[in-house]
Structures are given as C-alpha cells and as structure tokens.
Symmetry: C2
Subunit: 343 residues, 2 copies
C-alpha cells in the first residue's frame, strides 16, 4: 500500500481515468454530477490530498508569495506581514517569510531562494545595509512581480508602499514646538535609506516653518537601536546650548533616549520631551509612555499586497508605469512629550 494517494489510484478504483478524476475534483462543468459525487466520495475514503507540488510544476504557479523583512523582532514588520498574510490568504496565496537580519548577503540569498522556488511574487523591505541592488534587478529580469514596502528605493522603478515620512517627521517636530519646547534636536538614521533622509528633511521643514533656525549641532547621526538613543542623549547633554526635546528617528532610538534621560535624573516631559516613530508595541507600556508616529502597519501590508495582486494579474501585459502608494502617518501623542497636557 502506497502512502500517498494519487488521482490515478482513485481512477483505478472507480474504473475511470485520471483525466476524469482531475476534472471532477476541479468541478469542471463538463462532468456529470453523478461522477463528481462518486469521485469526491472515493477521494475522501482514500484520504486523497491534491499534490500542490505537481500542480505548481504543471501550471507554473506556486501560490506562494515570498516576503523579505529585516527582522521579525521589530514589531513593525511583524505587523505589516500580518496585513500581507491576511490579504494573501483571502486570495488563495501562502506567504513565505525570510529574515535578512539587516544584512545584504542574507537578503540576496532570500531572493535567490524565492526565485528558485518559483514564487509568484516577492515583497521586500530592504535591509539597512543594502546599497547594491543587483539582486533586485535579477528579479526584474525574471519578470517575477516585486513590490517594496516601507524601506524602498526610488531609482529601481519598482512598485512600493511607503508612508509619508516627511510629513510624519514634520508633524512630530511641530508637535514638540506646540508643546513649548524651544531647542529641538533630532536623532537621525542611516542616510542612504530614503525614509530616514525624508524624516530629517521633515524635521528641518517643521523648524523653518515655525521660525526656528536649523542647527547642524542638534542632529545626532544615530541609528535604529537603543544604544544610539543613549549615545545621542549623552551627546546632547554635553553641548553648551542643550536642546530641551528630541525627535528620534525610530521608537527603539527613542527608548534608548528615555532610558538615558531617566538615569541622568532628567524629568520627561517637563525637562526634556521625546517623540519617536513607528508606534512599536512597547511604547504604550513604558513610563513615560512614548509619543510616536503610527505607520498604519496592517494597512501598509494590505496595500502592498494589492499592488502585488495587480502585478500578478497584469503580468506580461504592458504595464510600464510604476506605482507608489503613499500612506498618511498618524501622530500618537503620549506622556513623553505632553508638557502642556493634551492639545
């Protein structure tokens, strides 16, 4: 007795052929109801399961979407993937996740694996490290649909969903100004990534729009990490003319800043205001709770997947215009910046 039942097995039992069985199982209109019933019944009895590998080989479609994220530990990405999965499952796709660990090499290997596995599409949020894009070009070359989310690149002509980082940073900075802070610093992120550059620009724009002068000294070249936040605070406190608030490029950075400030005995928000970016889940649980900018994660996942679906459906057809979807950032003001209380 063979362990895996095939349509041929069913056919033999029923004195018919695998063609008929296949059609019956796929509810083909030309098959009589009678036969369909007999086939499905026998299939159930024999414990038949359609071999999706064979289907994939035959059809050239795997029903798998490959997703590459920097790290599942960062809540933000987990949440976006959640959105992707929900939409994907609804549309009959499965999702395969690869973590790049912020490394170009892993990212590259992920792409390779996905292409070999003939996934129906690839979705990527770029690693911090990545500044060589040849693996993405390889994807385009195979005509495999590809979509960026959050961490995208403009030069590559690849569809993307991002949020309006400039606006988010603007809103964050403006909020600090409205709360009465007068010397506002910024802890920035790696500048080769669009999103972090945009946040720096948004910060500058908000200052200017509110009649404040941009001061290079008040920008600390940081990173997405707790440690960067701590180092930034140490630096700020070493200045002659200390800032009284900071917009951190990301929540983990903001967390580091808060920890350092608390250790230095500086009160938040009365002595120093902090706002982050990303709305990581820990933000509402820490003390003081962290002000931040929400990035509509689940929504981002959904939007990214619908771009993907569109690409899959129009594959092959003329489809030259790149789509960029830009989501609105949503400010979330909590205790770390509410000097005056709620606005």
């Amino acid at each position: 007795m063979s362990l895996t039942v095939t349509i041929a097995d069913i056919a033999k039992k029923l004195n018919t052929t695998s063609g008929t069985v296949s059609r019956a199982l796929n509810n083909h209109p030309a098959i009589s109801l009678e036969t369909k019933k007999r086939v499905t019944k026998m299939a159930q009895k024999l414990n038949y399961r359609r071999n999706t590998v064979a289907c994939s080989l035959r059809s050239g479609q795997t029903g798998i979407i490959g997703v590459i994220i920097p790290s599942a530990e960062i809540n933000f990405f987990g949440s976006v993937v959640h959105g992707i999965e929900r939409m994907a499952n609804q549309n009959g796709y499965n999702v395969l996740i690869f973590q790049s660990n912020e490394s170009w090499m892993h990212e590259q290997k992920g792409i390779e694996t996905f292409l070999n596995a003939r996934v129906d599409g690839i979705m990527v949020s770029m690693a911090k490290e990545t500044n060589d894009y040849k693996h993405f070009l390889a994807v385009k070359h195979t005509k495999t649909p590809i979509v960026f989310f959050d961490r995208a690149n403009d030069e590559l002509e690849i569809d993307a969903v991002i949020i309006d980082d400039h606006k988010g940073a603007y809103l964050a900075t403006e909020h600090l100004i409205q709360q009465g802070y007068t010397r506002i610093a910024h802890i920035s992120g790696p500048q080769h990534l669009n999103i972090f550059r945009a946040r720096l620009e948004g910060y500058k724009a908000a200052l200017t729009a509110n009649g404040m002068r941009f001061n290079k000294k008040l920008v600390f070249a940081g990173d997405v990490s707790i440690d960067a936040g701590r180092r930034a605070i140490k630096y700020f406190l070493s200045l002659e003319n200390q800032p009284d608030a900071a917009f951190a490029v990301e929540d983990f950075t903001a967390l580091g800043a808060i920890k350092e400030l608390k250790e230095q005995g500086i009160n938040i928000p009365s002595g120093f205001g902090i706002i982050g970016f990303a709305n990581e889940s820990f933000g509402e649980h820490i003390t003081p709770s962290l002000s931040t900018i929400d990035q509509q994660t689940v929504n981002m996942g959904k939007e990214a997947f619908s771009l993907m679906l569109h690409l899959i459906e129009t594959k092959g057809r003329i489809n030259k215009n790149i789509q960029k979807k830009i989501l609105e950032p949503i400010p979330v003001f909590r205790n770390s910046s509410l000097k005056k209380g709620n606005i």
Copy 2:
C-alpha cells in the same frame, strides 16, 4: 526567447543531453571536469536557476518545514521561530510560517495546507482553543514528521520540546517567598493546556514546600492577556484578606496587573510584588521592570528542529519511542519583585 532557462536549453547549446547537464550541475562523480566546467559556465551565461518545484516533484521532498504558531505578535513565538529558522537554514531547509491566531479552525487549515504542499515536516505550538486533535492524527497518518514545541499535548504521542513549567512556577513562587511576601496569589491560565496546569501545580508545590497553605481564593482564573491581569488585581483587592504578591501565568498578564496596581496607587514592589513568565521583550523596558521566567526561546527552537531532523532522517525506520525534551527555566529577577534588593 523563453524566460525560464531549463537544463534542456543548456544541453542544446552545448550539444549534449539534459541528463549530462543535470549530473554536471549536481557534481556527479562520473562526469568529466571539462564537461562540468562548460556546463556551469553556460548555466551562468544563460542565467539558469534550478526549478525547485520540479526537483520536489521528482524527489518527493520539498525542503520546506511548516511551522504553526498562535501569533507572531507574541515575542516568545517569534523568538522560537528564529531558533528554528537558524537551524533549518543551516541544514538546507526553508521555513513556512502559519499563524493560527489561537483558533482551531486556522490551525486546522494550516495543517491541511502544509500536507498538500508536501512539506518535509510540521512543527506546532498549539492554539489556546484547540481541544480536538484529529488534524494532528491526520498528520501522523500521512507519516509526515511532526514536532510540538512549548504548547504540547501528552496524549498524542508526538515528539515535543517544552520547558519545565512546573519548576519555573516553583522558582517564581519561591522567589516571592524569599523576598518576604507572605500572601502569594496566582493568576492562572486556561487549564486545558498542559503548560498552564503545570504552572499552577508548581505554584502550589512551592507554597507547600515553604510551609504556606494553598488557598483557592488566591487563584484567579485568568488568561494570557493584559485585561486578565487587570481583572485579577481588582479581584485580589476586593478580598478581605488581600495578597501582597502574585505570580502571573504569563508576562502580558503580569503587565496588566502592574498597570492596574499603578493606577490604584499601590507601590511595586514594596506594596505588592509581581512576577511573570516568558521574558517578553517589553519586560525590561517597563517601570518597574518585570521579574519573569525565561524560556530559552532560541534554544527551544533549535532543540525542536533537531528533533525534527532526527525524525526526517529516520523516517520509515522503526522509531516508536516518543521523545520529550525538557528545557530548564531561567529566572530573571527585576524590580517588580525585588523588595529586599538582589539576593
């Protein structure tokens, strides 16, 4: 020009046959070095990628391990998956993740999908809801290797990696006693899951071993949720004879307890001590930082995968004895319970 290059294409260009090309690419000993060189060169030139779908169909192996977890939002599972992935990748496997969202139906669907996709093995941490096990029996029936991690079930005769929940609970409770708390409560979890039952038992055992009487009134039937923690505290404070510390079944529950205590103006740890279980990442960032029991997540993932690997390798052979691997819980004492300071 066809988009996907096959070994046949390479063969044609080289005036040889696909058999030879296949052997050359797989470094078959019977192929001359000369030919191997020509083949690999041409493969590279044509941008050939091996079609893993075809390989899978041929070999009956997909190189995919399906993992089912309740939720990726719970850090604990993300971390275990991390461990699984690391080991899996090292051994040439890819990992496909399915979230059950704690629902039996999704879990069931995940199993179904994995079986149809002919994954080489399935790893599961059961959904809270699950108390019907027929989908797991179906897996056993197909002889697909299956391993449980953390949330396992004893009756099913399935390999599993768990931690010693009884001991973890014992250590947590004992710690509270050693810190000088005298009326120690427990916020429990759903009792149909082994792990939560074991934690309740460990709590009882620690009380008894230290000459304290177990008191049913001091056990609140809770859940893995912030809300359950809040409700538990409200209940405890409503008692005539209030407890002065609590061991919560899980960190999120402990978090809820802390929030409620703070809102009620009760000092932690001097007025009330709290310890959780899981070592979720937020624990070290909140105020007060949360005492907890670490579950060796990454290690658990690795151990679970090596059980899996063993099953795959001995598949078919006589292999009747079920393996249970039990990891040691590691106490992590922080401010939420250190009334006396560090021990």
